[in-house]
Symmetry: C2
Subunit: 279 residues, 2 copies
């Protein structure tokens, strides 16, 4: 089976690597000639090109470009594909992309492998990136069972734990655990920059330790990715931000009113609840 | 030199271990007989007792109890101490404690070793916990240079990087990088608990990954410690929470108004600024 991958970054590169090792023939497309050469040199792909026509022979295509160009990239690709090719994407927001691509291609299933690393691009690609990680697939009720099974099978071959839900359920769930944390964490860094006494700023920078490092990590990440999350999952993200702000206000009120019993109840609840999210 | 340690938890236990290995005679006091026996068995102390009179022979005392009982513990201890004993504490908030203890004891210097772990109590004690970590000492202008030097020397022997500032500067700086993150992170967990669709809650729990794990870590920590931070550093914490709320509101406004350029500017600023806090 020939597997096409468009976008040879962290996710696309890692996918290619794992699948090629498993005996699939991997055809990679990148916008940059240098990336094509690097992917060939690393043995991540069998063939690489800047030209989408390379995917004429593909039986299965992964769209691994940034969110904002997934739909336009697929529109450019469509004329090269034979009608029974199965197409999936790896975008971190699903509703709008699944709606558009499903109307263009019956054998499309949205996907979101929830793996990452602090690195970006093909330099960050690694073997077994998806092992033990959630891989969410978001078929529509109209998607054929055969198509869904083929996407699920490939995700399982990567060692991922596959979950299935609707695109809307996906986007609402990831707003809580992926997109809201970015905004919460970024606001923490922004707030620290408001300290206008230089000596205090210096001490804050010197004293910052693991607590600050962890809480600020996703807010100090890739700015373009943060904007994409907000653009593509705006409505769900705003809903979670509204709930977040309410919780923050209640906690501020407890501290203002020195209601330590209420604060302790809240912190005890979060202490216990976190265990459900962090295994 | 005989070093007394009151409170044999994570910090007190780790201090005792390191200092004993360096040849000091370590006298440990705990509220619980079981902890005294455990500390002796682990070789963390030379002698252990539930009775403060054990510290009659101490030349130097570390107060390592929870914040809320540091002052009362010292008041009970005072009748056993010879007048030239040097006393320090390890509390994470300094102003109120330094004010009270300095008025009771001229040879007192506030301290805050900024080390921790996910474990609590003596079970979490470890060798070299302080190596390379900040250790802030907060003498008053009236504290004698000899006293300050002795506290500084012991902190340096632990391998820590010693910083010196006023208690007020300490409390304002740690509000930003230690206490604010706890409240920001706890509010994130609280917000997720507001999702009232059970299926979405379940997906959120299943999909939660390293981003959520890191951002929620300090908000899911020890509730008593969180309340202590808020009680003892209430004013500074409220000031940082006010600034945080403003930054959050501006970010929500950007997303509501689809002002992606402004959002990208903010996320670019946080991306760069984080590097100053995280070395």
């Amino acid at each position: 089976m020939n597997i096409g991958i468009i976008g040879l970054g962290l996710i696309g590169g890692s996918l290619g690597w794992d699948l090629r090792v498993q005996g699939f023939r991997v055809l990679g497309v990148s916008r940059r000639e240098e990336t094509c050469q690097q992917a060939l040199a690393l043995g991540i792909v069998d063939r690489a090109s800047m030209d989408l026509s390379l995917l004429r022979d593909a039986d299965f295509v992964f769209l691994c470009t940034p969110l904002s160009v997934i739909v336009s990239t697929f529109k450019s690709l469509i004329s090269y594909l034979s009608p029974d090719v199965i197409v999936t994407d790896v975008g971190s927001v699903k509703t709008s992309i699944v709606r558009e691509l499903s109307s263009l291609w019956p054998h499309f299933v949205g996907g979101h492998p929830m793996a990452g690393s602090e690195y970006q691009g093909l330099d960050g690609a690694q073997r077994d990136l998806f092992v033990g990680r959630p891989y969410v697939i978001t078929p529509l009720p109209t998607t054929s069972e055969t198509t869904v099974t083929k996407v699920r099978d490939l995700a399982q071959r990567l060692g991922a734990t596959v979950y299935q839900c609707s695109p809307e359920e996906h986007d609402r769930a990831v707003a809580w655990i992926s997109h809201l944390p970015v905004m919460v964490s970024a606001s923490l860094i922004s707030a620290c920059l408001q300290e206008n006494h230089p000596e205090i700023r210096r001490f804050a920078e010197l004293f910052a330790s693991s607590g600050f490092r962890d809480t600020s990590r996703v807010g100090g990440g890739n700015p373009e990715l943060g904007v994409m999350m907000a653009r593509f999952n705006r409505e769900e993200l705003l809903r979670t931000l509204g709930d977040y702000r309410q919780q923050l206000d209640q906690l501020i009120t407890d501290i203002e009113q020195e209601n330590w019993l209420s604060l302790e109840e809240k912190l005890t609840a979060t202490h216990h609840a976190r265990k459900k999210f962090v295994k």
